[in-house]
């Protein structure tokens, strides 16, 4: 009875500690249980995620989606897919570098799994609350880059290697704005621990305090997980399937698994860092505006269970936005991808970090949490509008330039060079370039 109660209240580990005592092996066993629970959850939830993604994308594209296997809603479609993958032949191409080729799918899943170790699911329910939590996540996720290189190089296939190099260039590029944007919430929470960051958002989620940081993080997490519009990792129309061209069967399945796992993880991380994870920051904000004491889920009865539900709702809401974006936006080109990162996101993030750091020091200490939040929000909005204005100006300059070139070219045309035929094009281009140079 006690056991069941602790199971429902999510205090199972405390209960087991009470029963088993304080011996060293108890913690080891509890850790093993924790690892198995977290990992199994990750593996099984992917089955659901793939079904969800196919269903939602289908509705966005005005289709029905999976509707045969497992009843009206095709609930067992993914299970069937997994069984199909299991029954495929597992082989290694003759020319491949066998150790590298076979290690890559393992490494990518391991790095996607290890990130979950510090993600808090509810108050007190977290693999381990490291004091360097967010930093640990970033460093573990950087291992996945290595596995892409292993896969591309080990396959000994031109498409695979080219795809791997492109992917690595994309991943390392977008890691910069991602890391720098995470500096902002850490700076506000004064801690890298995930639980402390949630604690710092008791009455004001960072989404409303530093929205720019949240947006930058969200965009770069799209790119880091290789999702549309940044899915150049497997641009089917250009490089077959990118780095996993040579993979089949379950080894291919592992890349698929890791992609979905890390996407869900990024949704969870976004929910934790910018939406307050398992806490209820928006409700608390309203409550504290009316002078009511905010609700702290870590002290009330069944708080852990409520926290878990709250966190899952937030995580899947963010995940839904990922799918939504996939259903809406087309893929960008590789030059657009890199330019957008290095010439827009990185400079913007640097400015943001600088401004938030300085503003945070200038705000007088006696202001309340909400007051500080309001000032941060104002500066963020100011930077946001400033950025949009700068972009507008530069876009207008470019447009004017193009228009002038075009009018110059058509003017040129009117004055009877029509019979020159082939040479004309070169002439136009040169003339156009002169006009550009003159401006």
């Amino acid at each position: 009875m006690e056991f069941l109660k602790s199971l429902v209240e999510l205090t199972l580990f405390d209960y087991l500690r009470q029963v088993w005592g304080n011996a060293a092996w108890v913690e080891v066993v509890l850790d093993i249980i924790g690892v198995v629970v977290v990992s199994t959850f990750c593996l099984l939830v992917v089955v659901f995620l793939i079904w969800l993604e196919r269903k939602v994308i289908a509705r966005i594209q005005d289709r029905i989606g999976p509707n045969r296997v497992g009843g009206k809603y095709g609930l067992l479609q993914t299970v069937a897919d997994v069984l199909k993958l299991l029954s495929k032949e597992s082989f290694t191409p003759a020319d491949a570098d066998k150790p590298a080729y076979n290690a890559a799918p393992f490494l990518i899943v391991i790095s996607a799994l290890l990130m979950w170790a510090v993600l808090p699911f509810a108050p007190g329910v977290v693999g381990v609350d490291l004091n360097i939590g967010l930093f640990y996540i970033l460093s573990v996720s950087s291992i996945s880059v290595v596995s892409l290189l292993l896969a591309g190089w080990g396959s000994n296939n031109k498409y695979a290697l080219l795809g791997a190099f492109r992917s690595v260039a994309q991943l390392v590029s977008y890691e910069v704005p991602m890391i720098l944007s995470l500096v902002v919430p850490i700076l506000l929470a004064r801690s890298m621990s995930t639980q402390d960051i949630i604690g710092a958002q008791l009455v004001a989620p960072f989404m409303f305090v530093v929205p720019l940081s949240a947006i930058i993080f969200f965009i770069s997490s799209l790119a880091e997980t290789g999702r549309t519009p940044f899915d150049l990792l497997e641009a089917e129309s250009e490089i077959v399937a990118g780095f996993h061209t040579e993979y089949s069967g379950m080894k291919f399945g592992m890349f698929f698994l890791a992609e979905f796992m890390s996407t869900l993880f990024m949704s969870g991380l976004f929910a934790v860092v910018y939406w307050g994870g398992w806490s209820l920051p928006i409700l608390n904000m309203i409550l504290s505006l009316f002078g009511v004491t905010p609700i702290d889920l870590s002290v009330i009865a069944f708080g852990r269970l409520i926290g878990l539900v709250v966190f899952f709702v937030k995580m899947f809401a963010v995940y839904f936005v990922y799918i939504w974006i996939r259903g809406t936006l087309p893929r960008v080109r590789v030059d657009q991808l890199l330019n957008f990162n290095w010439k827009f996101l990185v400079p913007l993030t640097l400015v943001l970090v600088l401004v938030v750091a300085v503003v945070d020091k200038l705000i007088p200490a006696e202001m309340g949490v909400l007051g500080r939040a309001a000032i941060h929000l104002m500066t963020n909005l100011l930077i946001g509008f400033g950025t949009i204005e700068v972009l507008r100006q530069s876009a207008r300059r470019k447009r004017l330039l193009v228009e002038e070139v075009e009018t110059a070219v058509s003017h040129h045309d009117d004055h009877g060079h029509g019979d020159h035929g082939h040479d004309d094009h070169g002439d136009h281009a040169m003339h156009g370039a002169d006009v550009v140079a003159a401006h």
Partner: protein, 118 residues
């Protein structure tokens, strides 16, 4: 604390089991009929010519280099951000100078056209 890292260590040891289980199951359940054509490198139907391990362009290296610089910058910024509540104005100025110097590097790379993907 080592007790914290104990969980991570156990996770690292156990984590390979989870990808290994389906891959091994796949190996056991799947057919095993290798033939030379099947094991060829995938291309467009003809045999692949030359090595895939060829020379890549310098662009990738430059991106990696800029990345390394900003990665190291972030490593410095993280503990500063965590300690921010206990820092004075002098420390803030130091941090601003630090970020500013690296921004100069980015601007230089931008100005030289290094960040242009060709």
């Amino acid at each position: 604390m080592l007790s914290d890292w104990q969980f991570i260590a156990i996770f690292v040891v156990l984590a390979p089991i989870f990808p290994a289980a389906p891959v091994i199951l796949n190996y056991v359940l799947g057919p095993k009929k290798p033939n030379p054509i099947k094991q060829e490198t995938y291309e467009c139907g003809i045999e692949t010519i030359g090595s895939s391990w060829i020379q890549f362009k310098v662009q990738y290296y430059i991106y990696a280099l800029v990345f390394v610089v900003f990665d190291i910058e972030a490593v410095f910024l993280f503990p500063i951000a965590a300690a921010y509540g206990q820092l004075g104005l002098f420390a803030v100025m130091e941090t601003v100078l630090f970020i500013f110097l690296l921004a100069v590097g980015l601007l230089y790379a931008w100005g030289r056209g290094v960040l242009e993907w060709v």
